[in-house]
Symmetry: C2
């Protein structure tokens, strides 16, 4: 498998966590979002949405490009079910997917690079204040949901896809604002637990080959 991704992209980070959790090896291909490489013709061919990550997999001896982090992780769970990244039981999975979507559709889309640039360049707004508005609202909801389902991790005592969304969201949030652990104690505790895991250390942005020192 080949993962077209970017060290600091939170959707890329989610997929790296899923691959690492399942012990699946992959070739790392950097797409530099800061330089606009997602708009190159070669990448637009891979993903008409012009985004990362793209996971290229072999299916029936053909290379297939998969896009959108949630779709990619659902695919990985179907094709490589062991170890499971999803909990047992339809209700537990629904709760997990709800938390995934609070991050994936509720928070992150509102503070990604292109949206922040539009707020700054076209609307002459403050992208940090803009981002903080949606991050604060979203993390409050995520904390409330996590309280209903968490054990050591977001759903019970096993690392799931919800944890693989939490870590990138907290990382992304800190680029715009400080995250007060006393406001989101459940999320902060779970994040600390996740960072004791080896595959998490390997998946985090700073560990990637295209990472640039701040």
């Amino acid at each position: 498998m080949k993962l077209f991704n970017y060290w600091r992209s939170s959707a890329s980070y989610r997929v790296r966590l899923a691959l690492g959790f399942k012990g699946l090896p992959y070739e790392y291909v950097a797409v530099n979002l800061a330089k606009g490489e997602q708009h190159d013709a070669a990448h637009a061919q891979r993903n008409p949405w012009h985004g990362v990550p793209v996971l290229e997999v072999m299916e029936e001896r053909q290379a297939v490009q998969l896009t959108q982090s949630v779709a990619i992780v659902e695919y990985l769970e179907e094709r490589y079910p062991t170890p499971p990244l999803f909990p047992t039981g339809a209700v537990a999975r629904a709760r997990m997917r709800a938390m995934v979507e609070v991050v994936n559709s509720g928070i992150q889309p509102l503070h990604n690079l292109q949206v922040n640039n539009y707020v700054k360049d076209v609307l002459k707004g403050d992208p940090k204040a803009w981002a903080a508005t949606w991050i604060d609202k979203g993390l409050d909801a995520l904390e409330a949901l996590a309280k209903q389902s968490a054990g050591a991790f977001m759903v019970g005592d096993q690392f799931t896809f919800a944890d693989a969304c939490l870590l990138p969201q907290l990382y992304g949030a800190r680029r715009f604002a400080s995250v007060d652990p006393s406001r989101v104690p459940t999320l902060a505790r779970i994040e600390a637990t996740c960072f004791t895991l080896g595959f998490v250390q390997q998946a985090k942005p700073e560990s990637q080959p295209d990472a640039v020192a701040a």
Copy 2:
């Protein structure tokens, strides 16, 4: 089952389509977003994200509230697999979920009510121009993806969850801009096909008990 929803909410419309496709009866409970009822204490208890839809289901004789349209539809597909709303094959499902997420995380979050209000009230921007920017970009990507997988519907010749996301997105888009069929011919053709289906007619915003004439 009880569906807490709002006639014009596109995430609500997605779930109504999924329930209708599967022939599942439900009690319709209106939550008036225009009046801010999603922030009432009773609703915040159902959904800390303060959003619709919420699907209340009975599991082991207990009422359980499920949130986030994608999580709800994945749950319905797991619990009520027949007729299937998802295609056969891991790659086809991944393509379907990618299109679902282009709508669910790529377009709709950027032009929902609260975001448009922030653009208008805080940033003093034009919410129509704002919304049209993201809708145009998103529908172009969705058209390109649909071209790769469509038959009569978004993925092959069966109605799937991707179609249940397309219809609300086109409906939402027209609140802000005209949708030029010549720019998105595949999407326009599929929309017309969908509107020949009885459950689609029943699920559409104008058919709901809380619909208000424009």
